[in-house]
């Protein structure tokens, strides 16, 4: 629901909003794309941010590749469901068969509810003349916060989050909207690689 509302308020059409939920189907990336567009950035800066946020799904796929069939044609639909929730549910199971079942069941269920919710949120927001009156411009940062919070359980990610926020605000007046995010992505990648060399 919240994604549909935020996306429509950011200026995406009903079809574009639904396409994101059906075809992208990875929440943080979807919120990022519409968050950048809603804040006045170009759709390409939004697309780049969405893809960067999607890199973690590749690691999930790696973890799931021992459970799921790696080579058969079934991996093509399976890949679409490789997200935070399905990975968490699948790796929490004891046997490979239970893991497979948990993966598909969670994936299909989430896919249905996520898409229905998106449609409901988008349709409801279409009825509102000015999204700002409902405070919908304050919804994206709250959504990002809710997505970020579970990743902050240690001191290092907390420090990285604070530094990233500061760097973003310092860069913001000097570069086009959306670009500070890409600067932050490059910096954190360099930091990550340097740190693991030690």
């Amino acid at each position: 629901m919240s994604f549909g509302a935020i996306s429509t308020a950011a200026g995406l059409s009903l079809f574009q909003t639904s396409a994101l939920s059906a075809l992208m189907f990875t929440g943080a990336s979807q919120f990022a794309l519409v968050g950048v567009v809603g804040a006045g950035g170009s759709v390409w800066a939004g697309a780049a941010t969405a893809a960067l946020l999607g890199t973690r799904n590749a690691l999930y796929g790696l973890r799931l590749s021992s459970i799921l069939d790696r080579s058969g044609p079934r991996r093509l639909p399976a890949a679409h469901f490789v997200i935070d929730e399905t990975t968490a549910m699948a790796i929490a199971r004891e046997s490979p068969a239970e893991s497979r079942f948990a993966f598909w069941a969670t994936g299909v269920e989430l896919f249905i509810f996520w898409n229905l919710g998106t449609l409901a949120g988008a349709l409801a927001t279409h009825l509102v003349p000015d999204p700002k009156v409902l405070g919908l411009d304050a919804a994206p940062p709250a959504a990002f916060l809710a997505l970020l919070a579970p990743r902050l359980r240690a001191r290092e990610p907390m420090a990285i989050a604070l530094a990233a926020g500061l760097v973003t605000l310092v860069c913001l007046p000097f570069v086009p909207a959306g670009v500070p995010l890409l600067i932050v992505a490059v910096l954190v990648a360099v930091f990550g690689v340097m740190r693991s060399r030690r």
């Binding site: 629901m1 919240s2 995406l12 059409s13 994101l20 075809l23 992208m24 990875t26 943080a28 919120f31 794309l33 804040a39 006045g40 170009s42 759709v43 939004g46 697309a47 969405a50 893809a51 960067l52 973690r56 799904n57 590749a58 690691l59 999930y60 796929g61 790696l62 973890r63 799931l64 590749s65 991996r75 890949a79 679409h80 997200i83 700002k132 009156v133 405070g135 411009d137 304050a138 919804a139 940062p141 709250a142 959504a143 916060l145 809710a146 970020l148 990743r151 902050l152 989050a161 926020g165 500061l166 605000l169 913001l172 500070p180 995010l181 932050v184 992505a185 954190v188 690689v193 693991s196």
Partner: protein, 98 residues
């Protein structure tokens, strides 16, 4: 707009499929393993900063700052996702009415 939306969808699907299909060695590199989890932390924090404290290229302090404060409290109270988002939106909406 459509081109950006569809390219982003394709890129996200390709990343998911890459994890399932690539030879394990590529992604098992320790540098890759330890860097990728940091990316969403940094990007989500950067997105919070831009969407709360800016409009276009200008830094601004408005009702969204109060709204994110309410969202922080909701997260600390372990409120569900929709409640966090709705409480922030309601805060901004109500403050604008005043």
């Amino acid at each position: 707009m459509w081109a950006g939306v569809l390219v982003a969808c394709a890129a996200c699907y390709a990343l998911k499929l890459a994890g399932l299909s690539l030879p394990a060695g590529v992604l098992q590199d320790t540098r890759v393993q330890r860097t990728i989890p940091l990316v969403p932390v940094a990007l989500l924090a950067a997105l919070i900063a831009t969407n709360t404290f800016s409009t276009g290229n200008h830094l601004v302090l408005d009702v969204r700052a109060a709204a994110i404060g309410v969202a922080v409290v909701a997260v600390l109270l372990r409120a569900p996702f929709l409640v966090v988002v709705a409480s922030a939106a309601a805060t901004a909406g109500l403050l604008r009415l005043l």
